[in-house]
């Protein structure tokens, strides 16, 4: 017998099939199919955790997903370790290592329990009020201590080695919940031929049939019927049955997201299987059959281990074969707890008494209790309990006074009635309506194509539930056009219809502020805290929730919300619906990050873009940098070289000999059509109709507000064809920007846009020997300086491959950019390299490219501009046409602020000490001795060591910069102040002789 509290013949587990696990280092035996909770209870372990704020000993409260107390850590190995798992949900597997949480140094002796004695100081709003002053104490004193003392579980320190997956699914009818209602609805829908998905969070279908043994369906035991029905559904081609699958989010247009736990219950899962699978389901119709959750009674010390929900005790007995105690007290305001008492009684457990808060219980259950000889005390309350690590007595009293007596018990089961699970309905943006008769919030106005059936719809009675579900299943399926099949009929009966239920504090909760009558176990919120919140002026339930933290723990108040609301309403003297319900949010139960991100991790987190020459660059020792999604060769260090040395060498080599650079990542857009020039006239500040085919021009693109958006060289290939280049990072947004104007503002223009970024490999060959390097490889193009001057483009061949050859330069040297179809990129590169290398040229990377262009004062949009810079600010005002009557940004440029004096303008900076390299982003001031905060004139946008100049160079945005030439300004740094001289932006070859060579 695995566990002393296992009752022979009770439950549905097989006694011979055992599994061993450890809890806090101690080994226990369980049966296959046990949850950690049922296995611990079988072994007499009730104390499983400590509460969050007061560190009070806590036990197992429920048998399901609503569990607030029994949070555990489940470990397979150091990397596969999950905190905050509900012991009531986690299935035991052989070899599982389970630990309790939120206790130090041990579960039985917890130092943090001192908080319980200090609890008067931990009243509602404690965090807000106590830590307001002094502010510094929060960071230095309170927060580290609170974080050390509190905390739910410990995150693993290693990367998760499990994998997770995702599936998109479509269906006609999604049925959430596979209890009697869900199974009936799914069956009725499936018989019409509709595509049905049925999901349930538990390992087995059946819902309430797990505990309600009195149910007979079509003459069969209810639980057996449920399994047979699920098997019948699963065998149908049009049905998918998913167990261990929680529908956790209900989004717009019947988009419901499910988390399926695939291997969580297996001792040695096949590593090929995903641990969890996310299902993103788009359903034409949804049937919600999510049932109801039993509420606890609110009374003093209702949180001791051994105090639990009546339905939970019944589940442990009838499904797991475990008795939760030997002498069990019952405290209820609802008939359902009676049936739990009857089942325990019949299994040989002594029922100490049924204490019923009501004067009039249901007649049926009362009569049955009497005939079984169970003492029933109506109109009584439990006003206190005793027992440190497990409840050992309950004190009861007659409502209104008198009859006080203490009864020895070892477990106390309770029920305050049932809360319909309207979470998903509410997430679907449906509005709940309050039913004053039953005291329940029920689905009111639907926002989406869904229906609620059974307990979550407030439907009472088993046959009524079945009929409602069958009707809804068929109705929803027919609505999707499914025509097959006939009517499904199911006959169901059970022992008793349940009456009763209460919300809020029972008599024993008392008005005394020292009484701890818990409503939210996980966040340690008591009835008195809600009252205090109201006294402190919180009148909205959303404010009360945040002030007390009621319902804000990982269980999201599945047990506590209605109690909190009822107490707030009573204290405020308002009706419950006037106080309102807080909003339900996804996820219904916690979902692992692994499930949500599933495949989007590691290499699959974001695409990596590589140029056609990437393999060559890798083979030649390039160090890469990430530029957006691109991997770009950054620099090519030789053996023993630092980055600084490599970049200095590359910079000098390009200007002394030549360099070869991979510019393939440049954005490229082919602009084609009879109106192409007119379109570019509108998109760029420059004039394009005057550009002759075969020539190029540097273009500036603005936003409508007049600020620089992108730049690049555009070549006119033919009258009706332009080869547009954009910045590497700007390619997609420039394409979108152009499409936007073409489609919506200038749709009359006959232009076609095609992104060609990845179609062309681009090899820049720059430097005095550039022409000599490529000359023998080029066919059909005269590349002499006279025939092919700077800023020209020709079509021809290189190495036998078609090319668009550009004469252009981003280095200030004689330069060519060889565009070839991407597939030929590496071959042409290698051919060029074979000529370049013997001449002493180098391959250079993006860092050298940056330095060389800065030596020439060429800006980089996005580095030297920041979205608030005009072309005039950036020193490229010459590119703005004065003749055109329209282009995007023409009006923005005239805005008063954009033409005002003293705007920040791009200038060059030289440090007085030529060896000092400024920090990019560093601020610039006129007077370094002024008091802090200083008046900032601007900031450094680009800064490098220039081996060609023999001194550092920098570009900076400086207020009124162009009028400050020659001035000395200062860059204050934490350890020193750096004096700089304002210069123009061109540091090398001011007359441009090298460019045109």
């Amino acid at each position: 017998m695995s566990g002393a509290n296992r009752i022979a013949g009770a439950g549905r587990l097989t006694p011979a099939r055992t599994a061993r696990f450890t809890f806090d280092g101690k080994s226990y035996e369980a049966l296959e199919g046990d949850t950690v909770a049922s296995a611990l209870l079988a072994n007499g372990v009730h104390l499983v955790g400590r509460s969050f704020k007061y560190h009070r000993p806590r036990g197992i409260l429920s048998a399901g997903a609503e569990e607030p107390n029994a949070l555990i850590d489940v470990e397979r190995d150091a990397a596969r370790k999950q905190p905050n798992v509900r012991a009531t949900v986690q299935e035991v597997f052989d070899g599982a290592t389970i630990s309790s949480q939120n206790r130090w140094p041990s579960l039985a002796f917890d130092v943090g329990g001192i908080n319980n004695l200090l609890s008067p100081f931990f009243a509602a709003g404690f965090y807000y009020k106590t830590f307001m002053w002094p502010k510094a104490a929060w960071e230095k004193f309170y927060e580290p201590r609170i974080r050390a003392a509190a905390g739910l579980g410990v995150a693993p320190t290693q990367a998760d080695t499990d994998h997770y997956t995702n599936r998109f699914a479509h269906c006609d009818v999604l049925v959430v919940g596979a209890g009697v209602a869900g199974l009936s609805a799914a069956l009725a829908a499936a018989e019409t031929g509709a595509r049905v998905i049925l999901c349930d969070e538990q390992p087995e279908v059946g819902g309430a049939l797990h505990y309600d043994k009195s149910v007979k369906i079509d003459g069969q035991d209810g639980f057996a019927w449920a399994q047979a029905t699920a098997a019948r559904l699963a065998a149908m081609d049009n049905v998918t049955v998913l167990t261990r699958t929680t529908a956790f989010g209900y989004y717009a247009q019947n988009f419901v997201v499910l988390a399926e736990r695939v291997t969580e219950h297996l001792a040695r899962p096949d590593r090929k299987l995903p641990r969890e699978r996310m299902w993103q389901v788009r359903a034409k119709r949804v049937v919600l059959a999510t049932g109801a959750i039993e509420r606890h009674m609110v009374f003093a010390n209702n949180d001791r281990p051994g105090v639990m929900l009546a339905s939970a005790a019944r589940t442990y007995l009838n499904h797991f074969g475990v008795a939760v105690g030997k002498k069990v007290g019952v405290y209820t305001a609802n008939d359902s707890a009676y049936e739990a008492a009857f089942d325990l009684h019949r299994a040989g457990v002594r029922i100490a008494a049924i204490v019923d808060n009501r004067a009039k219980p249901g007649e049926g259950v009362l009569a049955e209790a009497r005939s079984l000889g169970i003492e029933v005390l109506t109109g009584h309350s439990v006003i206190d309990t005793k027992g440190h690590r497990r409840v050992n007595s309950m004190t009861i009293a007659r409502n209104g006074g008198g009859g006080k007596r203490t009864i020895a018990i070892d477990a106390l089961i309770m029920s305050a009635g049932w809360t319909p699970s309207v979470h998903l309905f509410s997430q679907s943006r449906g509005k709940v309506a309050y039913n004053a008769e039953t005291g329940q919030f029920l689905p009111g106005t639907y926002a989406q194509d869904c229906l609620s059936v059974g307990a979550c719809n407030g439907t009472n009675g088993l046959q009524a539930t079945v009929e409602e579900a069958l009707a809804a299943g068929e109705l929803m399926a027919r609505a999707t056009g499914s025509k097959a099949g006939g009517k499904v009929e199911i006959r169901a009966e059970n022992a008793f219809e349940w009456t009763g239920g209460m919300a809020g504090a029972a008599e024993g909760a008392g008005a005394n502020d020292n009484v701890k009558a818990f409503i939210d176990f996980q966040n340690d919120v008591c009835a008195k805290d809600i009252r205090l919140a109201v006294r402190e002026g919180m009148h909205s339930i959303e404010h009360i929730k945040r002030f007390t933290t009621n319902g804000m723990a990982t269980d999201q108040g599945k047990l506590s919300n209605i109690h909190g609301l009822a107490i707030a309403a009573e204290t405020l003297g308002r009706d419950i619906p006037k106080v309102g319900l807080t909003t339900f949010r996804a996820p219904y139960t916690p979902v692992t990050y692994g499930t949500i991100i599933n495949h989007s991790r590691g290499e699959l987190f974001d695409p990596t873009r590589k140029t056609p020459m990437h393999a060559w660059e890798e083979a030649h020792g390039a160090v890469f940098e990430d530029v957006g999604q691109w991997k770009r060769a950054w620099y090519y260090p030789r053996a023993g070289e630092t980055m600084h040395e490599a970049v200095s060498r590359e910079c000098k080599t390009v200007r002394d000999v030549a360099g070869v650079f991979d510019a393939s990542t440049l954005g490229k857009i082919e602009v084609v059509g009879p109106d192409a020039a007119e379109f570019l006239n509108l998109m760029y500040t420059n004039a394009w109709d005057t550009l002759k085919p075969g020539r190029c021009r540097y273009g500036i693109m603005l936003r409508e507000d007049g600020y620089v958006y992108d730049d690049g060289v555009v070549g006119r290939i033919a009258e009706d064809r332009f080869h547009v280049t954009t910045t590497t990072g700007g390619a997609p947004r420039v394409m979108n920007h152009m499409e936007d104007y073409l489609q919506t503002e200038f749709p009359h223009l006959k232009v076609w846009l095609t992104s060609t970024t990845e179609q062309w490999a681009v090899i820049a060959v720059q430097g005095p020997k550039a022409r000599e390097i490529i000359a023998p490889l080029v066919e059909g193009i005269d590349i002499s300086n006279e025939a092919f001057p700077h800023m020209s483009v020709r079509e021809g061949k290189i190495c036998g491959v078609p090319t668009r050859l550009f004469r252009m330069s981003f280095t200030g040297e004689t330069g060519f950019e060889v565009n070839v179809p991407a597939d030929y990129g590496q071959a042409v590169w290698e051919a060029i390299w074979a000529r370049a290398e013997p001449m002493g040229a180098c391959a250079y990377g993006t860092e050298t490219m940056h330095v060389l262009r800065a030596e020439k004062g060429y800006i980089i949009v996005g580095q030297d501009t920041d979205g608030t810079v005009t072309p005039f600010d950036a020193g490229v005002g010459w590119a703005v046409s004065k003749k055109k009557t329209d282009f995007v940004g023409i009006r923005g440029l005239k805005r008063p602020d954009l033409v005002a004096e003293g705007r920040k303008q791009l200038v060059g900076l030289k440090t007085k000490d030529p060896t000092v390299v400024l920090e990019e982003g560093a601020h610039i001031v006129a007077d370094p001795n002024q008091p802090i905060p200083m008046k900032m004139l601007g900031h450094v946008t680009s800064s490098y060591w220039s081996s060609n100049c023999g001194h550092s160079i920098a570009l900076a945005l400086v207020a009124g910069g162009q009028a400050r030439m020659g001035q000395t300004l200062y860059v204050p740094m934490p350890d020193r102040t750096i004096a700089v001289e304002v210069t123009d932006m061109v540091f090398i070859d001011k007359e441009g002789a090298r460019l045109n060579g």
Binding site: Y251, A252, Q253, F255, Q280, R282, R429, K431, V432, A433, Y434, F441, G444, T445, A447, S540, I541, E542, H543, R546, P577, G580, L581, T582, T583, E704, D705, N736, E739, D740, Q743, T744, E745, P747, T885, D886, I890, R891, G892, K894, R895, P896
Partner: protein, 114 residues
């Protein structure tokens, strides 16, 4: 994830294929270079933050690539209709009010609490 009907593809496709593009029916003045500061302010900067029906632009960027217009309710997040760029703003009479008495959440009346 919303389903959005592309008026060019004539299909409902998942939101992931689309990108929002701001308010619809704001015409770029054909004489933009000559408009006053006030006119430019109204054209470029001023936008309403409507609770209820908005007319906005979307692009089926990972589909046909077309820009189109949509009428969407910012309270329910529902697309009332979508239509091709260049078509006039459709006349949409206000949605019928719910008659059933329901519990207003705090958010519905006061906005999202922190």
């Amino acid at each position: 994830m919303l389903l959005i009907h592309c008026p060019y593809c004539e299909e409902e496709r998942p939101e992931l294929e689309f990108r929002g593009a701001g308010d619809a029916h704001i015409l770029r003045p054909t004489n933009i270079a000559d408009i006053s500061d006030e006119e430019f302010e109204a054209f470029f900067f001023l936008r309403d933050n409507v609770k209820g029906l908005v007319y906005e632009r979307w692009r089926h960027i990972h589909g046909c690539g077309r820009f189109f217009n949509a009428a969407r309710d910012t309270v329910s997040d529902k697309f009332v209709t979508t239509y091709k760029a260049g078509l006039p703003r459709p006349d949409l009479s206000p949605a019928p009010k719910a008659t059933e008495t329901t519990v207003e959440t705090y958010e519905a009346t006061e906005g999202v609490a922190g």
